[in-house]
Symmetry: C2
């Protein structure tokens, strides 16, 4: 979707991906197949590109540094990537800005989990510090036996134990920062997850002015302090008292922003391209109320019905195999704003 | 833009074009470079494709037949292409449906032009019967000397002489017909040409119900009678008495429909893909008033200003050279519909 947005603006795209015959490669002028840290592939990518970006935050941070040594401009930069790649670093970053997160303890050994359970209360959520997305590498634990089993399942890798946030709903804010430091954000999105994976997004979320301002401040502060260039998604928990906690920061276009494709003049993908190439940012106001549903695995077989539904805007990603739980596409339904 | 629309719906695209490194090839899974009638290239295209379409009506009609022999589904079909490729055939087709066109005579020799000038009045417009678009191969003639010079300039090729229509404005209608015969149309567009090339489109055009119904009937009848599958553009002249004359029929997505990219949930490109692959057609109602301006040749150098204008939705086509008069991109501005 980034390559499609770039094409609209007259840019050519080169893709580096480990996957042969990838959906992105099939709409790009150049498709390089290789590991993210393959030096030859990186040299080719740097040679082809005026600016390099990524849509997957688990690209090794060293790759960004390597591309910069090769003379390529990379956006977002290594600070944002390093911050997002380690859940403990990420939470410490937010706390240093005075932005609330869920309570947590860093976990290096089993004893840290046991101490954490006592401190945070149960159940608590054990996650790997690095890698992992869409609920992968995560487990809720209550007892010492569960803690040990969960720690074993992640190979006793460095981890984080997070307290349970007593939130009333999940929100996210998609924001963009340009090369000159200007920051914009889309309206708040309300999200429902199933099995750790985004199921439904509704936008603009119903929210009062204080909540909206709180989210915008979080976005603005985060992107500025990271000297961020591009689009980012920030997942938030809304507490009963209206406070927002940051759950997670994604240094890339975000699934909960896919509704912007159909409900905004400039969607998150065009916005990201605008930011990373140094264009002025575009408007973020939606022209309709949107509801987006992810199509996971076999959900995509519903395409015949969805294609025939005049109210459904269907996006199919061109992935070959509808593996269970895999994001195969999404569908957005628009509703005109109510006249006041 | 067709390839981008196809990608959104999960389809891969293969492009056959005589141009190496073409804008379309750079967003397609397969780019075949060859003449439209190159048998090897056509065999490769047929082998790669479930359905073949075109975005240029001067593809030799024999090519479509050849692809069909190779087993490829082609949409629109050869009847539409043959009708649109010969201006005399085209006008006779419309007349046979009871649809008005400008007065005309077929021209095979100089004497036909001279007789035509007497019959149609002066000035009259000499056009080649075949090829030619965007005003190419056209000349207004009044005197016998001008007639001879103009006929010489087109190499005394078979031609048509058209009387001057005393129209008050130029309109167009973009319509689509699916494989099952269902037909939809976008609202009327008002167009302004400069030097024979589309300059500005405004949509929906202000028009009363009778005019809108007249245009829709023309579109419906035309597409049905040609057993058309896909999107077509029909250029119309509106006379002072409200009658519509067909000026030209384009068996493809049409420049005067580019506004649908930003003002409709399903634009003409997605609509064309839906039609040719046999999907149900999508909705055609715009959610905003649109004005589209073409960026010809050096106009495109204005991109810096346009990229910075939050009200301007910019499309750049990725063509390498901004040759004078060449369509390099377009810009659309949206305006909310007035509340009644």
């Amino acid at each position: 979707m980034l390559a499609l947005a770039a094409a609209r603006l007259g840019f050519d795209t080169a893709i580096l991906t480990p996957e042969a015959d990838s959906p992105a490669g099939r709409v790009a002028a150049h498709a390089l197949v290789g590991a993210y840290d393959d030096p030859d592939a990186l040299a080719a990518l740097a040679g082809l590109s005026d600016v390099v970006t990524f849509e997957f935050e688990n690209v090794p941070a060293g790759v960004v540094a390597h591309l910069q040594v090769l003379g390529a401009a990379v956006a977002p930069g290594p600070l944002a990537l390093a911050t997002a790649q380690d859940r403990v670093t990420e939470k410490n970053f937010f706390r240093a800005q005075g932005i609330a997160t869920v309570d947590f303890v860093a976990v290096d050994k089993l004893a840290d989990i046991l101490a954490g359970l006592a401190q945070l209360g149960t159940p608590a959520l054990l996650k790997t510090r690095r890698e992992g997305y869409d609920g992968k590498g995560q487990a809720w634990v209550t007892t010492a036996a569960e803690a040990e089993a969960a720690f074993d399942r992640i190979g006793r890798a460095p981890a984080i134990l997070e307290g349970r946030a007593d939130f009333v709903r999940e929100l996210s804010i998609i924001a963009a920062r340009g090369r000159e430091g200007q920051t914009v954000s889309y309206p708040l999105t309300e999200n429902v997850h199933k099995n750790g994976v985004l199921h439904r997004s509704t936008a603009p979320a119903e929210a009062n002015a204080a909540t909206r301002a709180q989210a915008e401040t979080i976005a603005q502060l985060t992107l500025s302090r990271l000297d961020y260039v591009g689009v980012a998604g920030i997942e938030l928990f809304e507490l009963a008292d209206g406070c927002l906690l940051v759950n997670e920061f994604a240094p890339r276009v975000h699934n909960s922003g896919h509704w912007t494709l159909d409900a905004c003049e400039v969607d998150q993908f065009e916005q990201h391209i605008r930011a990373v190439v140094g264009w002025p940012l575009g408007p973020t106001a939606p022209f309709a109320q949107a509801e987006m549903l992810n199509l996971l695995g076999a959900d995509v077989e519903d395409w015949v019905r969805l294609a025939a539904d005049p109210a459904a805007r269907l996006w199919l990603y061109g992935k070959h195999e509808a593996v269970s739980g895999r994001k195969m596409g999404h569908v957005t339904r628009l509703r005109p704003f109510q006249r006041d």
